[in-house]
């Protein structure tokens, strides 16, 4: 099985990048002409996409409804435990 510490580390990294992107997003909502912030935002978008790709390949989908792949061809992984609210 996958080592859970590796999984957590990758998820924490995704969380950190997504948080930066969300912060920039809200800032840009009220400063839509800030080119430096747009540039930073787009850099985060690329990094997040790469990290999520890696995560979903190794540990299963982060998103459903067609937004994330089911890497296992035999088993629907979306419902795999743990869910985010469960302490693990």
């Amino acid at each position: 099985m996958m080592r859970p510490d590796q999984k957590q580390m990758l998820l924490d990294k995704i969380r950190a990048y997504e948080f930066s992107a969300a912060e920039l997003n809200l800032y840009l909502d009220s400063h839509p002409g800030d080119q430096r912030a747009i540039n930073d935002y787009n850099t985060f978008v690329r990094q997040i996409a790469a990290l999520k790709n890696e995560y979903e390949r190794l540990y299963g989908p982060l998103l459903n409804f067609g937004f994330g792949p089911n890497a296992n061809r035999n088993q629907w992984q979306w419902i795999d435990d743990p869910w985010p609210w469960e302490n693990n």
Binding site: R15, F19, L26, N64, F65, N87
Partner: protein, 190 residues
């Protein structure tokens, strides 16, 4: 539409059950200044916003509040999950147990159900953004009260993080309110 992402916006990893703290924190789940109220308030108000910045901000902060609703629900769940009957009795939350066992429920720890009367959507962008700024301050104050009541670092850490978000949201709404005043002035003169 909304898409669910199978992760918390910020981690919640509580190891020690504490029904008393769960009852206090439940207020930020379904109480007057809680995350559900915040999300529904902004997502309702966004429809009548006159400028793109305001539409975007209410949509996006309303979305983030739903992620906070999930975090607070996770905290309540983890604080109640392993609680023994003795712990529940010692915490004085027998009425919670009577009606809900250890379940998370959108209301307050004293049993007051969530209600839309916690929020307003006035149809006047300046009145609504002014309410939103007050709402962020009230949520910040509530998190500070909860931090005062908490002693477990696993509980305090996400509470501090959530408090910080209210400060940022207040700042962003303030910028939008200024833009709405400019919009109102421009309507008068042009």
């Amino acid at each position: 539409m909304w898409i669910y992402e199978k992760k918390l916006q910020y981690p919640v990893r509580i190891k020690k059950p504490n029904p008393k703290m769960a009852a206090a924190i439940l207020s930020q789940y379904g109480g007057p200044d809680g995350e559900l109220a915040a999300s529904l308030r902004y997502i309702s108000q966004r429809h009548h916003m006159p400028i793109p910045e305001a539409k975007g901000m209410l949509n996006d902060i309303g979305t983030e509040e739903l992620a906070h609703f999930e975090m607070v629900g996770s905290m309540v769940h983890q604080l109640m999950k392993g609680a023994t009957i003795d712990q529940i009795k010692a915490a004085g939350v027998e009425s919670w147990y009577t009606d809900h066992d250890r379940a998370t429920w959108p209301g307050t720890g004293t049993g007051v159900p969530f209600t839309a009367s916690y929020i307003m959507s006035k149809g006047d962008p300046i009145a609504d953004l002014t309410e939103d700024m007050a709402a962020e301050q009230k949520a910040r104050a509530t998190y500070e009260h909860l931090i005062d009541l908490a002693d477990d670092p696993d509980v305090i850490d996400p509470l501090r993080w959530l408090r910080e978000r209210e400060v940022v949201h207040f700042q962003r709404f303030g910028e939008i309110l200024n833009k709405l005043y400019e919009w109102k002035d421009s309507k008068k003169y042009f």
